[in-house]
Symmetry: C2
Subunit: 198 residues, 2 copies
């Protein structure tokens, strides 16, 4: 199923075709070398002082790490994320390694690395869906994540399955129109909040 962006200005396919489906195919697996390409993409993201504050717990469906990550998700997410091929717990390091100082953009930089993974996933025909609905404390406990690191989100990766298998509530979301603010609402030319000339 495709749900391309409704864009006014030209967009590359890797961006335009990405969306966040819930109908993952429970039969398909992601090959290890393909998953490595996704991590490779994250690896080459830019970051403040090249700190690279991103860390990833990677679980393939059927292995204990997958089940552990799944168990940290809110129930609403578990019902569909269980069919993903891979679940990744995205973690950020709060301080700079070189001097121990607080890194005010560590979450920002982890977000960039994960975005690169989503783009690379599209390149391999893999769909993705990120979740903030999970229990970070539970995740820290399960995986013995040190206090200087913070679990930030979980990404489900996999292949598109059958939307008919979704519950009525999930199916409604699957077919709902994608919505975004107008360009005028997010980009400004002179002062914050001004009427931007596109």
């Amino acid at each position: 199923m495709r749900k391309r962006t409704v864009n006014k200005y030209e967009l590359s396919n890797l961006i335009a075709e990405r969306w966040s489906p819930r109908a993952f195919d429970p039969q398909k697996k992601i090959e290890n070398r393909t998953m490595m390409s996704l991590i490779e993409a994250a690896r080459w993201a830019p970051s403040a002082f090249n700190e690279q504050p991103w860390r990833f717990m990677v679980g393939h469906r059927g292995d204990p790490t997958f089940d552990k990550i799944l168990s940290t998700l809110v129930e609403w997410n578990q019902q569909w994320a269980k069919n993903a091929s891979v679940l990744v717990l995205n973690i950020g390091k709060k301080t700079f390694t070189k001097n121990g100082k607080k890194n005010v953009v560590f979450k920002y930089d982890v977000g960039q690395a994960v975005a690169f993974m989503l783009v690379e996933a599209m390149h391999h025909g893999i769909i993705s869906h990120e979740m903030s609905g999970f229990d970070p404390e539970k995740a820290s406990e399960i995986f013995k994540i040190p206090a200087d690191y913070q679990p930030l989100s979980v990404t489900a990766f996999g292949y598109y399955g059958n939307s008919s298998d979704l519950s009525p509530e999930l199916k409604e979301l699957e077919f709902a129109t994608r919505k975004r603010k107008n360009i005028n609402d997010i980009a400004f030319g002179k002062m914050f909040g001004d009427c931007f000339k596109e």
Copy 2:
């Protein structure tokens, strides 16, 4: 000048060709519709509860907004960023609009949107370089950014110029080998920090 990633696993070109140069061409401009494509890419990024916490001040070289953003940068960055075609101040909204609650992943989500801009830029042959070395308080004052919004970074966009025009210090950085942690250092399979089987 190209400085492709040294990747072990396959990468899409939009990710593999991106790096953060400093030798911007001071003659070239980015067409407005092209800049709009970059913002369009950011616009379609995913975010927690679809909050879309990203806002952008966009300045083209020669206009007052460009000069204002430039003035917030540390001197080290000003010396090369002045030649960029466009400077974008990336701003995040700290709270959810629907209920006023703190959004713990707003920086993460702005990072994702900016990463989408970088990828879209590559698609248009545009180079980019992000900076955390700037004065967010000054930026808030200049652009009258409300307290609920936080300037997070500045991105320089433009076209590649001539590396010979760089100062010796900048030239050294321009030709330095790109470095990243190993995949084993950022991805884990069983416990945090374990020896990951690629």
